[in-house]
């Protein structure tokens, strides 16, 4: 990445400007994925990137204003918190707004809202977990006890129960609502997983950002010859992120293609086809899904694909927490 500070290149003044408004990278999930979409787009298309990151939780409006005042043609806000500022900023004739990861069914005039059906992918990994579990006991570790994470759990549980209605699903959140240390405390993640594995669960779905690392490590550490323990990753394909020694224990990951959403918005903005309105990223358009890296799910491909098709067809109604 460019480390030398460059004052805004005026030579590129005629290039369209795309601003991305986000928190901070390094959460091993959502923000990182969005940021990846932004950088991928930069290498593929030609536009001037405006990178507005902030660790604060109270300056969403500021960042939006900044994007407008810097002449951005497109402002992509990452996170549901952008819904309100984008709704309240009614005058933005020269700037198109995209709000990523908004609740499904939210419509804001003149704004492209993108939602992800995370419960659907969670349903599928729940099916996978139930099929793989030998003990009839699986677990879920959430980073922070907030709706977006509860949503993963709700889908996961429904998926698992669809396979084995009597399955036990343990659940632990590492920190309460409003305390974000749960997303970055691998130590706690590891201990929570240790407790769950010891209590009989043999598959754990970790929707816990950076704390997930502890869960993955524990899956490997607590596996014995007698019992193999699995972990399921979230957002990106965790199999590709972890160390070789951990890979054999990553059953699958529930994928949320935030990067695709960001990159696609930029692409359609550049070719002039970006429309305001709702976009749902779900199983039907591969906006969410599950990974098969490691090929541990080969035996269950048919069941998983059927469940996926049923969801797309609407035969299965996946519950949601948001």
């Amino acid at each position: 990445s460019g480390k030398t500070a460059t004052v805004q290149p005026s030579a590129d003044a005629d290039l369209p400007k795309v601003a991305m408004l986000y928190g901070t990278t390094g959460d091993f999930s959502f923000m990182d994925s969005a940021y990846k979409g932004f950088t991928d787009a930069q290498s593929e298309f030609s536009f001037t990137p405006l990178d507005f990151s902030s660790p604060n939780t109270d300056d969403y409006q500021d960042r939006l204003d900044l994007a407008i005042s810097q002449g951005a043609g497109l402002a992509i806000g990452i996170g549901f918190q952008y819904a309100t500022p984008m709704e309240q900023t009614t005058e933005h004739p020269d700037t198109q707004f995209v709000a990523v990861d908004i609740d499904k069914g939210t419509s804001i005039p003149d704004v492209t809202t993108i939602s992800f059906a995370a419960e659907q992918s969670s349903y599928l990994v729940g099916v996978a977990a139930a099929l793989t579990s030998k003990t009839g006991h699986i677990g879920f570790i959430g980073g922070v006890d907030q709706p977006s994470i509860q949503n993963f759990f709700v889908g996961y549980e429904a998926g698992a129960k669809s396979v084995n209605p009597s399955i036990t699903v343990d659940t632990t959140y590492l920190s309460p609502l409003g305390d974000f240390t749960g997303f970055s405390d691998p130590t706690k993640g590891k201990e929570a997983a240790a407790s769950m594995y010891a209590g009989g669960a043999d598959v754990i779905y970790a929707a816990a950002g950076g704390s997930g690392q502890g869960v993955y490590e524990q899956a490997a550490a607590s596996s014995t010859d007698a019992q193999k323990n699995w972990a399921i990753g979230v957002d990106g394909d965790v199999y590709n992120q972890v160390d070789e020694s951990i890979k054999p224990f990553i059953l699958t990951s529930a994928i949320k293609n935030v990067n695709v959403a960001v990159e696609d918005s930029i692409k359609s903005f550049l070719d002039g086809s970006l429309e305001a309105g709702e976009q749902d990223f779900d199983l039907s358009n591969d906006g969410v899904g599950y990974s098969t890296s490691g090929d541990f799910l080969d035996a269950y491909t048919d069941q998983l694909e059927k469940a996926k098709q049923d969801i797309i067809d609407g035969t299965i109604e996946v519950p949601s927490a948001v």
């Binding site: 091993f28 309460p176 609502l177 970055s184 405390d185 929570a192 240790a194 407790s195 594995y197 160390d243």
Partner: protein
């Protein structure tokens, strides 16, 4: 070690270690309390139907969660015993995690621990120079170190880790390998011997299986880093009371002028204490990084502050720090487990509080018996009738510590010169 939930925790450390004679008595008392505690745990397990409370997983977790808090608190003890308030423990710990990430990534797990110490020392040096040399307000410096450590760790990660394979702005590349784990031979399967405690735990026989779970959890597969961390506590007690430096160190925190008048070197003693303490805080950070096999941004999650609280809870005594941190670690482990385990903990607390309250009433100290009795009664009611919101479990360690403080109270005896600047002697000008 079964006295982790010992009821009299905060009052016990007030007694200074004296001569050797009463030590056997204390051992016996400890044993007695330990057995009572064990009995209580067993009862709680059946009453609350919570196998988790006596499971080796819970006790193993408790041990592992205790270590970083105990070590960082001991680090704080070093500096505060010498008279320097250390609010910067969290920052030093952050420095430790970060440096452990670098060292561990480059040179493996042992280096990670060493790197943790180095990372702590960087901020310890800053604190020492600013507080001891320049005499700046120790609270200001502590707070500043916390802020500066957080900001510069991220800044430095951007430069060092970002773009390296497996590293990001919020994480170091993986620390490959881990420190050896130890188990006690013939008890918990060390050196390839049969794992007696595991057999006991699985036997399902009352008392035997719980004993197996608890002992097994505390002795099976304990990381060498945890062992080192725990050994630091008695080692610190030894240094504090059995070495010449220890005497000067205590004097520097109690009455530096007396030390100086006798030709001791107050500033040097304080430097050593602050630096050693920061190194230990960094060590605690390194321990965390080893658990996650990488530096992860914000992974200290406020443990430095908990360590500070534990230090005060433990009345600036190594034994008190141990009790405080194990209380915290145990409740943390329970909070991460199944909800009924948390209910079992509530039951245990309720019984302890009721017994303590009743004992106080019986001995005539009625007023001080009211708080434990009331709290115990409330806990019993909660245990019997109130469905607990699951969020409450995450606050378990804080609530338990607060409850114990309310019941026990303490005669806090901070070092007399804590926070006092001791100016260098006016030299010829």
């Amino acid at each position: 070690m079964t006295d982790t939930v010992e009821p009299t925790a905060p009052t016990a450390p007030a007694a200074a270690p004296r001569s050797l004679a009463p030590s056997r008595q204390r051992l016996r008392a400890g044993l007695r309390w330990g057995l009572l505690g064990l009995g209580l745990v067993i009862v709680a397990q059946y009453v609350a139907d919570a196998p988790g409370i006596a499971a080796s997983a819970t006790w193993g977790s408790a041990l592992r969660l205790t270590v970083p808090i105990a070590v960082v608190a001991i680090g704080g003890l070093y500096s505060e015993r010498a008279g320097v308030i250390n609010v910067g423990l969290e920052g030093m710990m952050i420095g430790g995690t970060w440096m452990a990430g670098v060292f561990g990534w480059l040179w493996g797990p042992w280096a990670a621990l060493g790197g943790g110490v180095v990372g702590g020392l960087v901020f310890g040096l800053l604190m020492a120079v600013l507080c001891i040399e320049m005499g700046l307000n120790q609270l200001v410096v502590g707070v500043a170190i916390n802020v500066i450590a957080g900001a510069s760790a991220r800044f430095a990660s951007d430069i060092v880790f970002n773009g390296v394979d497996g590293g990001t702005i919020a994480r170091s590349p993986r620390i490959d390998g881990s420190l050896p784990v130890l188990s006690v031979p013939f008890l918990s399967g060390g050196l390839g011997t049969p794992d007696l405690t595991a057999t006991m735990e699985q036997s399902g026989i009352p008392v035997v299986s719980q004993l197996g779970g608890i002992v097994g959890g505390l002795t099976h597969n304990v990381s060498l880093a945890a062992v080192i961390g725990l050994l630091l506590i008695p080692a610190t007690a030894y240094v504090l009371w059995r070495t010449r430096f220890g005497l000067r160190w205590r004097a520097a925190g109690e009455e530096p002028a007396a030390l100086q008048a006798l030709g001791g070197k107050v500033h040097r003693t304080r430097y050593i204490a602050v630096l050693v303490g920061s190194g230990l805080a960094g060590f605690a950070g390194g321990y965390l990084a080893l658990i996650s096999q990488a530096y992860v941004e914000n992974q200290t999650a406020g443990r430095g502050f908990i360590g500070l609280a534990t230090l005060i809870f433990g009345n600036w005594m190594p034994s008190g720090v141990f009790l405080g941190s194990s209380l915290f670690g145990f409740s943390d482990a329970v909070g991460l487990g199944r909800p009924e385990t948390f209910r079992a903990l509530l039951f245990i607390l309720a019984v302890i509080f009721l017994v303590v309250g009743a004992l106080r009433f019986w001995r005539g100290a009625r007023r001080s018996g009211i708080a434990p009795l009331a709290l115990g009664a409330v806990l019993v009611l909660v245990f019997l009738f109130v469905p607990l919101p699951p969020e409450l479990a995450t606050a378990a360690p804080y609530l338990v510590t607060l409850a114990v403080l309310v019941v026990a109270g303490t005669t806090m005896r901070p070092p007399a010169a804590l926070g006092h600047l001791f100016p260098r002697r006016t030299s010829r000008s």
